[in-house]
């Protein structure tokens, strides 16, 4: 279960550290599975671990997260079971989605993960509706929807920001600006060079945050979640981050970006950063963190074993779940 953190105490720090390490190990393993030909076209989140981690730290299990084609990190940060995720990547019957959804559609409603989505921008209105549902039901649940810099050019974002603003919906619009949409640089595609600058036009706070610092993300999210839970309305957060790998694995990012840029971001790695901060602040030793690292690794290895050992779906699963009932 994902804890709800409001104070930046040791518990919170360690939860965030562990979450980010688990995400990274998971993604490394997923890439190995892909390289072994067991899945295709996997969008790795390595480098972007801090963004959902800093946001989800404030979310309860019954709060909601919605993601994109690149969502393994959102799922893990929201508490989805890694073994079921890995099984899903391999198309196995034991997967979160029974093998029917795969890497771009992982969902687990019991954990409040309402789904990755392969159509860029498509989940933003859905998230707005989840927030609307909470409002109509009179619950204080909060919804966070993640999307990329590329997705910010979809009309769906703007329709949703307007709706969320006029209806004061409890939703966080979280843009993971990793500077590229496939091979298209952000500064080419986004007029004015900023996503968060669009918020004022919708009468909504727009915040830029260093997405490589989970502590900064944590602080920004605290206020956005508070606002949402208090019924004060939506917030647009633009987290500046970077994906270390290519768009989907097979592409060479140096075709469209520079070694210097890659080096710059890797030097500001979110996990290394937080590790240094934790060790520097005293309570926790390197050895404690190493133990977390080892635990993460073995959890991921167990997940891979579970996934590989699991069966593929039965043939008749092809035509089930199209409808709840279809006479």
């Amino acid at each position: 279960m994902v804890a709800t953190h409001t104070d930046l105490n040791t518990d919170t720090l360690l939860w965030m550290y562990e979450t980010m390490v688990v995400i990274r190990r998971f993604e490394e393993q997923a890439r190995r599975e892909a390289d072994a030909g067991k899945l295709r076209g996997m969008h790795s989140s390595i480098g972007q671990e801090a963004v959902p981690t800093g946001i989800c730290a404030h979310l309860r299990v019954d709060d909601y997260v919605l993601g994109t084609h690149r969502s393994h990190h959102h799922c893990i940060a929201k508490g989805v079971d890694m073994s079921e995720m890995m099984a899903e990547l391999l198309g196995k019957a034991t997967g979160t989605n029974k093998g029917k959804g795969g890497t771009m559609h992982i969902a687990d409603i019991d954990k409040g993960m309402l789904g990755a989505n392969g159509v860029v921008g498509s989940n933003i209105p859905v998230a707005t509706g989840v927030a609307l549902s909470a409002k109509i039901r009179g619950s204080d649940q909060v919804t966070a929807v993640f999307f990329g810099d590329g997705a910010s050019s979809q009309g769906s974002l703007h329709e949703s920001m307007n709706l969320a603003s006029i209806w004061k919906l409890p939703v966080l619009f979280v843009c993971e600006n990793n500077r590229y949409a496939e091979a298209t640089p952000f500064e080419y595609a986004v007029a004015g060079g900023s996503v968060s600058n669009r918020a004022p036009g919708y009468d909504m706070p727009g915040v830029v945050v260093d997405g490589q610092s989970v502590l900064d993300v944590f602080e920004v999210a605290r206020e956005a979640v508070r606002r949402a839970r208090a019924g004060e309305g939506p917030t647009l957060i633009e987290a500046q981050t970077y994906r270390y790998q290519g768009h989907f694995g097979a592409d060479d990012p140096l075709g469209y970006r520079t070694q210097e840029e890659e080096d710059y971001y890797e030097a500001r790695d979110c996990i290394a950063n937080l590790r240094a901060h934790i060790v520097g602040s005293g309570d926790t030793s390197e050895a404690d963190l190493d133990a977390i690292d080892r635990k993460a690794l073995s959890a991921v290895e167990a997940a891979a074993k579970f996934a590989n050992d699991s069966p593929f779906p039965e043939d008749d699963e092809l035509t089930t779940d199209v409808y709840v009932a279809y006479p």
Partner: protein
């Protein structure tokens, strides 16, 4: 002559309105969203200025308030997606898509999310979303405001599609759709909204099952299949055919997905001839779907090739002189039926 006591006549619009009201009373997770479904939004003294462009939702805001009768900005992708999200999390939204041609601006939410989520998520999330939309030519509204398009939605696995043909079926299908756990789209023909009907519409809530056709008129010589408005056209044509001594059967299809294949096939096995009357574009349509079904599954019973009466492969014209030629009418149905019969 006194009218039989039991007959309670409502207009199509009143029947829809009553169904919405009763379902909202029954289940507080039902709410309605759309453009001007109340009107005067944000002005309590001016609320319910419209009650929907066709007045289908008139008066509901007074009873249920603006949270549950929710006017939206003109953001179909936004609020259709919001319907999906609300449906995934415990609500039963009814979303009004004013005209079916506006599918264009929200297709992603319907076709990629509402239709696919249950399957993609391995059956673990349900989308009990109802979409209601206006269809049909005949009102001088030109190419973008006169489409039918239910064939497009029927194409997509994951969606259910129903087409009421009368106040009685409208009320019952709305209740079924709202209570259904899958996304259901209800296609309301605008010409039906202006017509008089004699059918008895019970006051108490009832359902008309999704997936069942009804026999609107029994006969033995030929099967005429109608959908919504074209069911009325078939019934008129059937009168003409009966006057000439034939015995036509009229099937009111009501549900396109799921479709009542058994009812169609049973009728055709009896009459051995079929005319499908449909207002949607003719290519890759529900009319070709039914024709193919009959050809493939009742081949040995057919005495004549299946026939279709549809508009030509043409956008809907504005001019009323051209539009009158566009929509299937009783004369065209009679002519097609006679070709099959002779």
């Amino acid at each position: 002559m006194v009218q039989a006591q039991s007959v309670r006549q409502l207009s199509f619009i009143q029947a829809v309105n009553e169904a919405l009201r009763q379902e909202m009373e029954r289940d507080e997770s039902v709410f309605i969203m759309g453009e001007d479904i109340a009107g005067g939004a944000g002005r309590p003294d001016k609320e319910d200025a419209w009650g929907g462009p066709m007045r289908l939702t008139k008066g509901l805001i007074a009873q249920f308030g603006p949270e549950r009768v929710r006017d939206t900005p003109i953001s179909e992708a936004g609020f259709m997606g919001a319907g999906v999200g609300a449906a995934a999390t415990g609500m039963r939204p009814v979303v009004d898509l004013m005209y079916v041609g506006f599918l264009g601006v929200c297709a992603d939410q319907i076709l990629n999310n509402a239709a696919k989520i249950h399957y993609m998520f391995g059956g673990k999330v349900k989308i009990p979303l109802t979409i209601m939309t206006g269809i049909g030519a005949g009102t001088n509204s030109a190419a973008q405001h006169s489409e039918t398009l239910y064939s497009v939605f029927t194409h997509f696995p994951g969606l259910k599609c129903v087409v009421p043909s009368s106040p009685y079926t409208a009320k019952g299908l709305f209740a079924s759709a709202i209570r259904d756990d899958d996304p259901v789209i209800i296609f309301n023909n605008r010409q039906l909204m202006g017509m008089r009907f004699d059918d008895d519409v019970p006051e108490e809530p009832y359902t008309v099952p999704i997936g069942k056709a009804t026999i609107a008129r029994e006969g033995t010589d030929i099967t005429l299949i109608g959908i919504g408005y074209t069911t009325r056209v078939c019934l008129q044509a059937a009168d003409d055919l009966a006057a000439e001594g034939y015995s036509p059967e009229v099937i009111d299809l009501l549900s396109l997905s799921p479709m009542d294949n058994a009812a169609i096939l049973e009728s055709v096995r009896k009459t051995r001839k079929i005319v499908i009357v449909d207002e949607d574009y003719p290519r890759c349509s529900i009319a070709t779907d039914i024709s193919a079904l009959v050809a493939e599954e009742a081949f040995d019973y057919l005495d004549a090739p299946p026939k279709r009466v549809t508009p030509p492969h043409t956008s809907v014209p504005y001019s009323r002189s051209l539009e009158a030629l566009y929509v299937p009418d009783r004369a065209k149905v009679v002519a097609a039926a006679k070709e099959a019969l002779e």
